[in-house]
């Protein structure tokens, strides 16, 4: 099963002092090598600072946009990992090693099974209501 690990920190990589940024980069490289080797790695990305975010919504066909992330908090979404793990305990064990967990926090969310096949772009199987409980 895949788990999305959202890394929330107070400062994005761009907002760090050069020596802090260099150290953090090293930590992430080491972490990524580890989970690639152990087979838990699926994907990851770093996000630019929340100042670059725009939030949009469409209501009655009308688009409105506001600057900033959808939740104004001291901490911002700084990046994510997608992990392959047997169960939640394994996901937590690996996510605990994400360097950002030591100064920010990491939200672990199971990724739902695909309803859509992105390559074929058709609905593969629509679960019944009871199966979605």
């Amino acid at each position: 099963m895949e788990f999305l690990c959202l890394i929330c920190t107070e400062r994005a990589y761009e907002e760090l002092q050069p020596h802090e940024a260099a150290r953090q980069l090293d930590e992430y490289v080491a972490f990524m090598n580890d989970i690639r080797e152990s087979g838990h790695y699926v994907g990851c990305n770093r996000l630019l600072p929340a100042a670059n975010a725009v939030t949009l919504r469409v209501r009655e066909g009308k688009l409105s946009t506001t600057d900033g992330p959808f939740a104004e908090t001291k901490e911002q979404l700084g990046g994510y990992f997608v992990l392959e793990a047997r169960d939640l305990n394994e996901a937590i064990r690996i996510a605990a090693k994400i360097p950002g967990a030591r100064h920010g926090c990491v939200e672990v969310r199971p990724i739902a099974e695909r309803l859509l096949d992105p390559d074929a772009l058709h609905v593969t199987e629509v679960p019944t209501h009871t199966e979605m409980r």
Binding site: N89, E90, R93, P110
Partner: protein, 441 residues
């Protein structure tokens, strides 16, 4: 077979249900991978026993029989429902169950399953409310209605909480395992906290209709014993000691009229000596391990009270010293308040008041009725009736539990000059014990 023998078998099945159904359920969850299917399989298995045992005799290992019968009933059920499901799913589901090659019903693995169930229900990915509700429902086997009543929560709310928690276990893949050794300390904390929450709810909820309320303290003690039997960790032992030492005072804690009787005024002959003895033994075991923590220290404080033959023989210096250590490992304002009361008992009310001033000075516990009750009591002992009255009034404005409110009103009435309209409320037991937060007394 005679009707007499049949009745005996029915009684035996009934007894087995009471003593073992939760164990069997825990194993069925592991074998079937789903709480709801396991619950249904459990009841199917007992129904089969009622049908077959009077005819065929009681099997040599009834527990193993019930587990394997429940398992086959569940497989049958999945096949029966197959008509409504894609055939591959059914094959997968049945294969997953039938392929189970590990030992599935010997006594040792059944005991492990109970522990798996405890750790799953107390998983930190579930909210604390859900952990408590799920543990009482699935591990203790209480009905949703009984849990709802015990926590004064509407039954539909509680039922929903349980359904959501079970869905999260399934969907977020919370595994059915006892955590690895390196995860165990953190995970055990969460289990012990659930047990402690259940116990405290039972301990402080002295109001209400005793006949219809589940005895939560007894359930918590049962859980505590289960954990100590299987995982003799120092803090698990310390928590069980703490619960037994508190429980030993139950009969003396309220009067026949349901009024609060403070520690100092309690009739110590009513304390349960057997529970105190067991609590003391467990406490020694926990202390000897040298890996103890906050629960064991609280148990040591409870033991200092339990072992004092009379209130005036209480070793307050030792209690203050224990609070000093407790405050270091658990720096909470509640612990500081308890310590303040112990300091007052050792050094006099003024010393205790200084400590309470310090807690309030840090902006803590201003909305906690027992802080004001403790202040009021110390002012009263120091002879400052005016300040005592003010503090009792503040405590009364914040207290919610009826027996506590009546207690505070009696104390207020005692401060009012004789012959006033409140004289009828006068408390004949002139107890002068410091009001100690209920969770610690």
């Amino acid at each position: 077979m005679s009707a007499d023998v049949q009745d005996n078998i029915a009684e035996r099945i009934d007894a087995l249900y009471r003593s073992d159904s939760r164990r069997i359920f825990a194993t069925l969850i592991r074998l079937l991978g789903d709480f709801d299917i396991a619950e249904e399989a459990l009841h199917d298995a007992f129904r089969s026993a009622l049908e077959q045992w009077p005819r065929d005799g009681v099997p040599a290992n009834p527990r193993a029989w019930l587990v394997s019968t429940g398992r086959f009933k569940a497989i049958d059920g999945i096949r029966r429902r197959a008509r409504f499901r894609p055939i591959d799913d059914v094959a997968d589901a049945v294969e997953a169950i039938v392929d189970e090659s590990v030992r599935f019903a010997d006594d040792e693995s059944i005991e492990d399953d109970r522990l798996r169930l405890v750790f799953t229900c107390c998983h930190p990915a579930l909210s604390p409310d859900a952990q408590v509700a799920l543990t009482l429902r699935e591990v203790c086997g209480l009905t949703t209605e009984a849990i709802a009543q015990a926590f004064l929560t509407p039954a539909p709310t509680l039922a929903q909480r349980i359904v959501r928690a079970k869905a999260k276990i399934r969907d977020a893949r919370i595994p059915y395992v006892v955590p690895d050794a390196h995860e165990l300390p953190a995970r055990l904390d969460s289990v012990l906290r659930v047990v402690y929450l259940v116990f405290n709810e039972g301990y402080s909820a002295s109001s209400g209709d005793a006949l219809t309320r589940v005895d939560l303290s007894a359930e918590a003690i049962r859980l505590g014993r289960l954990i100590v039997d299987m995982l003799p960790d120092a803090e698990a032992i310390g928590l069980l000691a703490l619960m037994l030492l508190h429980e030993s005072r139950r009969a003396a804690r309220s009067s026949a009229e349901g009024e609060i009787v403070l520690l100092e005024a309690q009739d110590r002959a009513q304390w349960n000596a057997a529970l105190i003895r067991e609590g003391n033994e467990l406490l020694s075991r926990a202390l000897a391990s040298r890996r103890f923590g906050a629960y064991t220290l609280q148990a040591a404080i409870a033991a200092a009270h339990a072992n004092a033959p009379a209130s005036e023989h209480t070793n307050w210096a030792q209690i203050v010293a224990l609070y000093d250590v407790l405050l270091r490992i658990e720096p909470s304002p509640i612990v500081a308040l308890n310590r303040a009361v112990a300091v007052a008992m050792r050094d006099g009310p003024q010393a205790g008041l200084a400590e309470i001033d310090a807690i309030e000075g840090r902006g803590e516990l201003a909305g906690y009725h027992l802080l004001h009750a403790a202040r009021a009591d110390l002012c009263r002992r120091a002879g400052d009736a005016h300040a005592a009255k003010q503090a009792y009034e503040r405590a009364l404005a914040l207290a919610k539990q009826q027996p506590e409110r009546r207690f505070l009103m009696r104390r207020l009435a005692e401060l009012t000059p004789k012959g006033g309209p409140d004289a009828a409320f006068r408390h004949d037991r002139r107890s002068s014990s410091a009001a100690t937060p209920k969770s610690r007394v």
